[in-house]
């Protein structure tokens, strides 16, 4: 019993390090790839780390109008994202904190972070913050049914909402992702991923144009270390959702355990799959224009339809 607990602790620590270290890299790679597609050199893939270091070293200006909610939010967002990250399988099929919650808990923990971020957006009284909060909550609410249908499809196949079980059920069935139900569910979740991580065509991470920003508008009043925490959390959230997608649908390379030489192989597979998904995201971002806000529900309706198709396909094919 004690040994198992100790193993879990080591696994959690390893995955925690991986999450913290890898998340800015993924953001950096996506930015660089995007720059190259636009014939720019880009700032280099290590730029997010430099940004974080710089922000952590700076002082902060906290708006006079804010309450303790404003100061508590970066922590709540950061910790809930990390906890969600420890509940997903990254390198080994066994999620380190899988006992604490499965895919539903991951979604709801990310929801907890979003809830507080939206409160913080409104806390300063700036209308940009309110605008961001309102849009973020609306879009994520509308993305929810599609996400849940896709997750139900996956969970029904595995007979569980536990991610360890979901990934475990997929191991050894390398070509299963070509089944119609899996492909529809994948497409639905991929659309949700785009909406949830604030990517084009839903939101633009690089914009600070007042009227189009969503996520950036909520964190407009943050500075210094708190801004660093929020930026870091945002990239960890992106990594968590990407890993969730790739390890539920493409489980190849997932190791049975964190211990031993296999773990390195697992990390290599993870990096390869992340790179592949990043390329796909970059392509989507580069060939699309940002949508008008009120066109976004249509995109999410497409995701919902795909989710329904996935569900029906589970027993039609």
């Amino acid at each position: 019993m004690m040994e198992r607990a100790l193993e879990r602790l080591i696994e959690s620590a390893a995955q925690l390090l991986l999450l913290l270290a890898l998340a800015p890299l993924v953001t950096g790679v996506i930015r660089t790839l995007k720059a190259r597609l636009q014939s720019r050199r880009g700032p280099g893939i290590l730029q997010p780390y430099r940004d974080l270091r710089k922000l952590f070293g700076k002082g902060m200006v906290i708006p006079e109008t804010t309450s303790w909610i404003f100061s508590a939010t970066p922590w709540v967002v950061f910790f809930s994202t990390i906890l969600a990250g420890l509940m997903i399988p990254m390198v080994a099929a066994d999620a380190p904190l899988g006992l604490f919650g499965g895919v539903l808990a991951v979604i709801y923990l990310l929801g907890l972070g979003r809830f507080f971020l939206a409160l913080a957006g409104l806390d300063s009284g700036s209308s940009f913050g309110g605008l961001g909060s309102s849009r973020e909550m609306t879009i994520s609410a509308l993305a929810e049914p599609a996400m849940m249908l896709a997750i139900f499809t996956v969970a029904i196949g595995a007979g569980s909402t536990g991610l360890t079980e979901i990934a475990g059920a997929a191991i050894g069935q390398t070509w299963r992702f070509l089944a119609p139900a899996q492909m529809f569910a994948f497409a639905a979740l991929a659309l949700v991923l785009i909406a949830e991580t604030g990517r084009i065509p839903v939101d633009n991470q690089d914009t600070h144009l007042e009227l189009t920003m969503i996520h950036e508008a909520m964190i407009l009043e943050f500075s210094g270390p708190y801004l660093a925490l929020l930026e870091w959390a945002a990239s960890i959230k992106q990594l968590v959702l990407m890993t969730l997608l790739i390890n539920c649908f493409w489980p190849f390379g997932l190791q049975p355990t964190w211990f031993g030489f296999g773990a390195l192989q697992g990390v290599a597979w993870l990096l390869a799959k992340l790179l592949f998904l990043s390329c796909a995201i970059v392509l989507i971002e580069s060939v699309n224009a940002k949508m008008r806000l009120f066109r976004v529900p249509e995109l999410l309706a497409v995701a919902f339809t795909l989710g329904s198709l996935a569900l029906v396909s589970t027993f039609l094919f």
Binding site: T65, S67, I69, F100, Y108, L122, G125, S127, G130, L149
Partner: protein, 676 residues
């Protein structure tokens, strides 16, 4: 022993009712007696009910003066005891709160009358939950409805209050009428009005009667519970009542409808036809979605909470509907899981909705308005109220690690398991309901961002809000108590589940809690092997450890490098309350996306002198249409009034004519009504 506690609770309430009525002239004494009796009675009832849940046999109390078929019998079986303990917990906190809340009414209102109806309502609720005779049940039901009516119309000088009260009374009586017919049909089959004679009776009745009975009870109880489409009284009546009454109404009075459904559908019915469960599930989804969608548009804080009651009743009915469907398909364990989800959410909703209404009551007392657009910045003026309201908001949004998350998770698990229970297309209902539950929960979170942020954060939007005072100690105590219960119900989920075992044992013959508890009580599982777990304790532990080890020391260090400065606001200087985002603006995207439902109407009048781009004054008005009310109930009301007008003709006012009516009726009854 159990019965002694329970009965003395009711006696204390009734005595408190009479005593405060007698003390009507002395407001201070009336307030103390009314609240003291409510508090004592609640604690006694709570003790009796909790003991009763765990006692092996149901305790039956029968008063000696029976009249023919009607016995004044009380039965504390597990289902009854569960609901009356819910009443006990909530009423204790509300009574505590009322000590402070009612002080403001002293000398201005008749607190004696208030205390009378308040204690009467509590006593009648306890009797509704425990009466085991249909006649006695209906008597308690009527006392409950009438005392609730009197409390809702307490501030009767406002027209809005009076019309809401009347609407409540009419709807409530329409529901009671349906219930009466239902019970009479049951009694005609069993030959007795005793609940014990109804056990599994409905399933032995001919199909037509069975179906008709189901609909009678569904809508009869549905009116009280606020199920769409018979919910229209709820968002009118709950906001206008004094806030401690609102908390009681939304927390527990609407649960009497849920209790009735649980009693009839799981006790009187055996495994029902599949469509019944499907109807309940469908109504649950409809109530949940419409409830939250209208809540998003409400900018009256208490009306918003009232709409959320409809939403949560919908979530409860999703659990009940799934349980009924599993029962008819022969999956006892799954039925237990779904029933547990529904009953757990019933308890949770009683607590967090009670908490939120008490919080709203504090805010309304401090700012003298229910309009959120006139509040703001209250977190600094009312820190305790703000924290309590935030706990309630997180809980009702179903976010971890509080209680709302646990019961919604159980509901998801039940719906997920439902997909494999049948081969017909009915199976699609479960995941669709699950995805709409996800939409509901996310919209609820959106709504509570608004409901917390607009009143409590940023700058005050009115002079009243700027000068608001934190409420008195008893009011704080009531809110803090309910917040702690919210946390306990979230963290102690695995222990709490054991309370539900006797109920599933009684109704479905299954004990589920052992299967639902994993990892030595640390985690919750859906009862299937490898079903996936959650651990609210683990999640909380993570936050506490991470917060203590990293957040606190770092935050203290960074504080030395931080300064307070003006809001940056993209470089626009001089932020005032007029620049702030409002509740209307916050819900604007959803108002546009769901405009087919809301049919929003807006009117803008701008006055300008030089150019239309520089208006000197703007008037903005926006409203939405309550589709069901406008399209169904209003025409219905017109029809009824027209019919009533025509009926005037037979009321000639002459005593001879009325005697003739009585004579004719008598003849007809003798001819057709008497059985040979």
């Amino acid at each position: 022993m159990t019965t002694a506690f329970f009965l003395s609770g009711i006696v204390v309430w009734l005595a408190g009712a009479l005593a405060s009525l007698a003390l009507g002239r002395q407001p201070v004494a009336a307030r103390r007696v009314a609240c003291g009796a409510a508090l004592t009675g609640s604690l006694l009832t709570l003790t009796g009910s909790v003991v009763a849940i765990f006692s092996a046999s149901a305790s039956v109390i029968s008063l000696p003066f029976d009249v023919a078929m009607f016995s004044w019998a009380i039965r504390l079986d597990p289902l009854s005891a569960y609901f009356s303990s819910m009443l006990g917990v909530l009423a204790t906190a509300i009574a505590l709160y009322s000590f402070g809340y009612l002080r403001e009414m002293e000398g201005r209102r008749n607190l004696g009358a208030f205390g009378f109806f308040f204690n009467l309502l509590l006593a009648s609720l306890a009797l509704v939950f425990t009466a085991s005779n249909a006649f006695f049940f209906l008597v308690a039901w009527e006392v409950m409805a009438l005392s609730a009516y009197c409390l809702v119309s307490f501030e009767h000088e406002k027209k809005e209050t009076r019309s809401a009260g009347i609407l409540f009374l009419i709807m409530s009586h329409a529901g009671t009428g349906l219930l009466m017919i239902g019970f009479l049909v049951l009694a005609s089959f069993s030959g007795s009005l005793d609940f014990s004679s109804f056990h599994l009776l409905a399933s032995r009745m001919p199909p037509l009667q069975q179906d008709a009975m189901f609909l009678l009870f569904l809508f009869g109880f549905g009116v009280k519970a606020g199920v769409v489409p018979v919910h229209i009284w709820l968002p009118e009546a709950h906001p206008v009542a004094p806030s401690n009454v609102s908390a009681l109404m939304s927390g527990i009075v609407i649960k009497s409808g849920i209790y009735g459904m649980a009693r009839v559908f799981f006790d009187f019915y055996g495994p029902p036809p599949l469509w019944m469960g499907a109807v309940v599930l469908g109504l649950g989804v409809a109530s949940a979605l419409l409830g939250v969608l209208y809540a998003l548009m409400a900018h009256d804080l208490k009306r918003l909470l009232a709409w959320h009651s409809i939403e949560n009743i919908g979530i409860i009915l999703m659990g009940f509907g799934a349980a009924l469907m599993f029962r008819s398909l022969g999956y006892g364990n799954l039925a237990a899981l779904a029933l547990i989800a529904g009953l757990y959410h019933t308890f949770n909703h009683a607590i967090f909705k009670g908490l939120l209404f008490l919080g709203a009551g504090s805010v309304v007392q401090a700012t003298h308005t229910r309009n959120m657009e006139k509040m703001g910045g209250l977190i600094r003026r009312m820190p305790v109220t703000a924290v309590c309201f935030l706990v309630g908001a997180v809980a009702i949004s179903g976010l971890p690690p509080l209680n709302g998350f646990v019961s919604e998770w159980l509901t998801y698990q039940a719906l997920l398991a439902g997909f494999g229970t049948t081969q017909s297309l009915t199976r699609l209902m479960f995941p669709i309901a699950g995805s709409l539950l996800a939409l509901t929960a996310a919209l609820a979170a959106t709504c509570f961002v608004k409901a917390f942020a607009i009143p409590f954060l940023a700058l005050p939007r009115s002079a009243e809000a700027a000068e608001a005072q934190e409420v008195s100690l008893p009011m704080k105590a009531g809110m803090v108590a309910l917040s702690l219960v919210c946390i306990a119900l979230g963290l102690g989920a695995t222990s709490f589940l054991r309370v539900l075992d006797p109920i599933t044992q009684q109704t479905l013959g299954v004990s589920a809690s052992a299967a639902l508890v994993a990892a030595r009580g640390l985690a919750l599982s859906p009862g299937t092997p490898h079903g996936g777990t959650i651990s609210t304790v683990g999640i909380t532990l993570f936050f506490v450890l991470a917060g203590g080890a990293f957040a606190l020391p770092l935050a203290l260090r960074w504080r030395r490098r931080s300064v307070r400065g003006p809001v940056w606001d993209c470089g626009l200087p001089g932020l005032t309350a007029d620049n702030e985002y409002t509740a209307t603006a916050f819900s604007k995207p959803l108002r546009m996306i769901f405009s087919a439902l809301y049919r929003p109407r807006r009117e803008i009048q701008a006055e300008f002198e030089v150019s239309p781009h520089y208006p000197s004054a703007i008037r903005f008005e926006s409203e939405i249409e309550l589709t069901l009310e406008e399209r169904v109930y209003r025409p219905l009301q017109a029809r009824i009034l027209a019919l009533a007008n025509r009926m005037k003709g037979i009321q000639a006012g002459s005593i001879n004519v009325y005697l003739a009516y009585i004579f004719v009726t008598l003849i007809l009854l003798l001819l057709f009504g008497v059985r040979p």
